[in-house]
Amino acid sequence: MKPDKRTDTLADGIARKLEALANEKEGIRRKLVVTAKQLAVTAKEKESTRRKLVVTAKQLAVTAKEKESTRRKLEVTAKQLAVTAKEKESTRRKLVVTAKTLAVTAKEKESTRRKLEVTAKQLAVTAKEKESARRKLVVTAEKLKSLYETLEKKVSERTKDLEQIRSKSEAILASIGDGLVVVDKEGRINYINKSFEEMLGWKAEEIIGKSMVQVVPREDIHGTKVSFKERILTQVLSGEKFVANLTNPFYYIRKDTSRFPTSSIVAPVILDGKTVGAVEVFRDITKEKEIDKAKTEFVSLASHQLRTPLSTVNWYSEMLLAGDAGKVTPDQKKYLEEIYAGNQRMVELVNTLLDVSRIELGTLIIESKPTNIVKLTQSVLDEHKLLITEKRIILTSSFSKKIPLIKTDPKLLRMVIQNIVSNAVKYTSDGGKIYISTVMIDGSDILMKIRDTGYGIPKDQQNKIFTKLFRADNVIGKDTEGTGLGLYIARSIVEQAGGKLWFDSTENRGSIFYVTLPLHKPKKDNDASARLYQRSNN
C-alpha cells in the first residue's frame, strides 16, 4: 500500500517528467500488475498459509492440550519414577549385598564344585567298579539261586533225617539202663529217663522242675544224710569239672523211702563255655557189691586154703633144718634155708591178702586199748634196725614228750607204721636219710611224719598209690618184694580210726608220709566197712 501513495504524489509535481514517468509508470504498472498478480498469489499463499496456520494453531492448541496432559502424565510419571528410583536404590543396595554374598557363595560353590568334580571322578570309578560288581553279583545271584534250591532240598531231607535221629536219641536216652537225670543251672530236674523212674519210683510228671537234691535224698554209708552243699550235683553246678562217685558208695532214697547202694557220675552240661546244667548217670550197685563180697570171700577162703600147704613146707623144712631126719650138709642147710625164707614170704603175702579181705568184708576186728604210739614206733624202728644199718641209712627221729596214750588197736596201728617205715627203708637207696617225728596238733590229733630221701613216687602215679595191688613203675624193677597192698591196708586202718594218711613226693628226691590220728575218734566212723556190707545185704 505504502508504495502506491508515494507514486501518486510524485506524478502531479513533475509534468514533463509525467510522460517518462507515465512510461516508467506503465513499466511500474506492469511491474505492479505483475506484483499485484504476485501479491494475489502471495495473498493466496498467505491465505493458504493463514489457513494452514489456523489449522496449525488449532492443531497447536490441540497439541498444547495434549502437551499439558502429557506434562501432567509426565509429572505423575516423574513422581512414580522418583519412587521407583528409591526402590531401585534399595534394590540396588540389596543387590550389592546379595552380590557380595553371591561372591562368597560363588567361592564356596567353586570349592564345592571342585570337590564335586573329584567326587564325580571317584563316583565314576566307583560306578565302574559297581558295574563290575553288579555283573558279578548277577552271576553270583544266579549261582545262589541254584544253590538255594539244592539246599532247600537238602534241608528238607536233613530235617527228616534229624527228626528221625532226634526221636532215636530220645528213645536211646529213655532206654538207657542206668538212671539218667538232667538238671538246669539251679539243679531243677529237666529230664529223667525210664530207668530213673523205675529205680527211684518217681514219675517224670511228678518231679520235673523240682530240685533233684530235694526230691532224691542221698545217704552215705553210715546212713547220714548228705547235705546240699556236699552233694556232687551241687559241686558240679558250682563249677567243679567232673565228679565220679565210684569208690565212695552211697545210697539213694526211693519215693517209698527204701534205699539202694548207688554209684554215680555227674558232669556239667556246658554250652558256649558256660555251665547251663548238669547230667547225672547213676547205677544200682547192689549186684556189684554182692559180687565184690563174694570175691572177697573167695580170696579169704583161698588164702586159708593156701596156708595149709604153706604150713607143710614150713614145718618140713624146719624139721629138716633141725636135723629131725638126720644131719644135713652145709649146702643142704643153705638150700633149706632158702626154701624156708621163700615160704615165709609166701605166708606173709597170704596174710596180707587176708587182711585186705577182712577189711573189705568188714570182719577186721578192732581191739582198742590205750596205746603208746611213741613206744610202738620205736619198736617198729628197732625191727628195721638191721636193714637200716645194712643200707647205711641215717635215721633220725623226734618224738614230742606231750603225746598222751591213744585208744586204738595197737596191732593195727603197728601195721600202719610198719608199712610206712618199711617202705621208707625199702625205697631209699644206700646212704640215704629217714626222719620220723611225732607231734600233737591242736591238742586233738597226733601227727606223724615219715620223711625219706628215697626214690619218690612219679607224679602221674601218685593218685593210684593207695589203690589195691598198685606199685609205682620206678620201684617195680628195684624191689620185687612189695605186694602193692601195704598202703591200701594202712590207709584203710587209719581212716577206720578216724584219721588221715597222705603224702608229698618228688621222684628221685623222696617222700613224706603224714598220718594223723584223733585222740577221740568221731563216733560215726565206727566200723565203717562192716556196716557197708551189712547194709547192702538188707
Binding site: R307, L310, T312, N314, Y316, M319, D324
Partner: protein, 135 residues
Amino acid sequence: MKDKLKMTKTILVIEDERPLIQAIQTKLESNGFIVVTARTIDQGLDYLENIEKIDAIWLDHYLPGEKTGLDFVAYLKGPKSKWAKMPIFIVSNTASSGNVRSYMSLGVSKYCVKAEHRLDQIVKDLKAFLDDSEK
C-alpha cells in the same frame, strides 16, 4: 624108769592133712610124747572115750564132716563133760578173730596159726603148759 613113764604124756592130734599129721606126730614123738591121731571130730571123740589116758588135745578147726573144732570144744567144755579140764591147743590156719575169740571164751589153752608158728615152738609151748599144770 617109773618117773619117766609117769612123765610121758599122750596127745590126741585131730588134724586131717596127712603131711601135717606126719610132721606133728614125728615132732611130738621126738619130744617124748605118745601120739594118737584122728582125722575127724567123731574119730577123735571115739579115741577120747576109749583111750583112758589122754593128757591134751591138739585140734584143727576145719575138719572133714559137718563138725568143726569149735563144735568139739563146745562139747568137751560143756556142763556135764568129764573133759572140761582137758588142755586143748588149737592149731589152725583159720585165724579169724571171731574164731579165736570163740575158742578162747570156751576155755582152750592156746590158739596157734600154723603158717605163722614154727612146729618146734608149738611143741615147746605145749610141753611148757603141761609141765606148768603139773606143778
